[in-house]
């Protein structure tokens, strides 16, 4: 078991290290500019928040800029994690099956004694490598950088936030996985996955506070709230559970779908 996941995971290791380096660079930049921002204004929150249009504040769920935590939650976690990494995992997920099918590698793979359901599950499982690596490397960098600029933040909150982002990123990857079995051209699967993931983010953000807020419940973004963790140390295990359940539903759907399709040649 897991031979395929191990193999794919190994192939993803290098890319994951580059990804972590890029996210760490973003983190360091955000932490590094914070003191000069907060030092330039008497009342950071007042002036910052007024400077942003109402729509942007709602879209990015900007709560406060008066602390490094609030600044990080918006600049790094909502933007970098919820949006950028969410889209990236959806993109990676979309490449898992469709790429092998399009390039003819799936024929060789499925000629081995390995079921289609297992192929889907193991290929999906290999996404754990980028998800884990980026969530181990970046918080260490954030913690050290915050300490170095004299704005230390809670290590426990940081760990909790990154732990909660793991099921979130798997859910985004699972959206890509469905796209990957639904179409057999990888380019289309990737665009589909990016479109759906970004659409869900917009849906969730823009419907918040309206009569249609409940529609946003289908979006994984609703269950990952960097502000709540960093500002209030509030961890919602139910939300994590919902993300895990979403992921499972999407993976099982992908397995059933893939079992029923002809492999394009």
């Amino acid at each position: 078991m897991l031979e395929l996941a191990r193999y794919d995971g190994r192939q993803r290791l290098k890319g994951s290290l580059y990804l972590s380096a890029a996210m760490s660079l973003l983190a360091v930049t955000v932490v590094w500019i914070y003191p000069s921002f907060s030092g330039s204004f008497d009342d950071v929150d007042e002036e910052f928040l007024q400077a942003y249009p109402e729509g942007v504040i709602q879209l990015f769920d900007i709560r406060t800029m008066a602390s490094l935590e609030g600044f990080l939650a918006f600049e790094l976690y909502v933007f970098g994690w919820t949006i950028l990494l969410g889209l990236y995992l959806a993109y990676l997920g979309a490449g898992t099956i469709a790429d092998d099918v399009e390039r003819g590698r799936m024929d060789v793979l499925l000629s081995m004694p390995i079921s289609r359901a297992r192929t889907v599950a193991e290929k999906f499982a290999s996404l754990a490598v980028p998800i884990i690596v980026v969530n181990v490397v970046t918080p260490i960098v954030v913690f050290v950088a915050a300490t170095l600029v004299g704005e230390p933040i809670s290590a426990a909150d940081l760990v909790a936030l990154h732990a909660l982002s793991v099921p979130y990123l798997f859910a985004c990857g699972a959206i890509g996985l469905v796209a990957s079995v639904a179409v057999d051209r990888v380019g289309i699967a990737q665009r589909l996955a990016l479109g759906i993931t970004f659409g869900l983010f917009m849906l969730e953000s823009l419907l918040t506070g309206t009569d249609y807020e409940s529609v946003g419940a289908v979006a994984p973004m609703r269950y990952f709230d960097p502000n709540a963790v960093l500002l209030e140390s509030s961890i919602d295990p139910v939300h994590a559970g919902i993300l895990v359940a979403m992921t499972l539903v999407l993976v099982v759907t992908s397995q059933r779908w893939f079992e029923r399709s002809d492999i394009a040649s």
Binding site: Y7, G104, D107, V108, M112, P113, S115, R116, I263, S265
Partner: protein, 324 residues
């Protein structure tokens, strides 16, 4: 129990009927050639056997297991080797990493011996492989777990002649060991060298299944000759000569002095080559070539040339020499 059994296998893509009621079986321990022009439906049959395509109608069994039952087919796949027509491996991995993955999933009984035989460049990434090298790596992955049955889709295309030769030798040895081989080809000479029996598919329909000798008797050879004499058409009206075309070229008085006649003949020959050579001894030949008939030509001659020929009216079948 046959190694492969097809019963009325049909795959309908809507606009194309890729396989239309294909029925045949491959016995254990034989080398079975699946012959047909490009686009005839060979790959569709093979990919259905692998469970990659679901048949529209009909059934197929591989090593006794129904190909539409995934769990059953997985059992068969432990004893199955498969080389697709365009094998593809992870391009970022080296050949060695690909072999390690295959070994981990299906086992490795003898990759070392296979590597000596086919020599793919293991330490290079697959991205840098030529087509031939990808196929060599594919041959190793196909046979490394010592399968009972191998299915090969156009196995020799892209291999250089030396490796083709080794591959043919290897396949015969595999048959001696009891391995069943099912391979597709559009090259008649390859099939004749290797196969015990041949199934011919055209436009999705199985045209015939027969021992390779009877097919060869009927397919004939293309003979081209040039003679420094006049050969009348009647002189070549011997048994087994078909589609005779002759032309006479007159060379004007060059260095030899007086002008001479050169006769060029082309025909398909289905008789005994010795009889033909004996017959030609009376002429002074400038050149003679006897070649395998191209597969398309075989179809034209024996199964009617038109694409639209349907199974019920194969006019060519009645005139086949040797009677099959």
């Amino acid at each position: 129990m046959a190694a492969i059994e097809l019963e009325g296998l049909t795959k309908d893509y809507g606009e194309v009927l890729a396989n239309d009621g294909v029925t045949f079986s491959v016995e254990r321990g034989e080398i079975f050639g699946y012959l047909g022009p490009n686009g005839a439906g060979k790959t569709t049959t093979i990919r259905t056997l692998l469970g990659l395509l679901a048949p529209t109608a009909g059934t197929a069994r591989v090593l006794g297991r129904d190909v539409t039952d995934e769990d059953a087919l997985l059992e068969a796949k432990r004893q199955l080797g498969y080389l697709p027509d365009a094998p593809a491996f992870d391009e970022t991995a080296t050949g060695r990493e690909v072999l390690e993955l295959h070994a981990a999933i299906k086992g490795d009984e003898r990759s070392e011996a296979l590597l000596e035989l086919f020599e793919p460049p293991l330490d290079r990434p697959v991205r840098d492989y030529s087509h031939g090298n990808v196929r060599k790596l594919g041959l190793v992955t196909t046979f490394m777990h010592d399968p009972e049955l191998v299915i090969l889709d156009e196995p020799t295309s892209g291999l250089d002649p030396l490796i083709q030769h080794r591959f043919a030798e290897f396949l015969r040895e595999e048959r001696e060991r009891g391995v069943t081989v099912f391979f597709s080809s559009h090259v008649l000479s390859e099939v004749r060298r290797l196969c015990d029996r041949v199934g011919i598919i055209r436009n999705g329909r199985l045209v015939t299944v027969e021992p390779v000798e009877s097919l060869l008797d009927r397919s004939g050879k293309v003979v081209r000759l040039r003679a420094a004499a006049s050969i009348s058409r009647e002189a070549l009206a011997i048994d087994g000569v078909h589609d005779l075309e002759t032309s006479v070229v007159r060379t004007g008085g060059d260095s030899d002095g007086e002008g001479s006649e050169i006769t060029e003949c082309t025909f398909t020959f289905t008789g005994d080559v010795n009889a033909l050579l004996a017959h030609l001894r009376e002429y002074r030949l400038l050149d003679l070539s006897i070649e395998e008939a191209p597969l398309e030509g075989v179809f034209m001659r024996f199964y009617g040339g038109e694409e639209s020929t349907d199974a019920e009216s194969k006019p060519g079948l009645t005139e086949r020499p040797g009677g099959g």
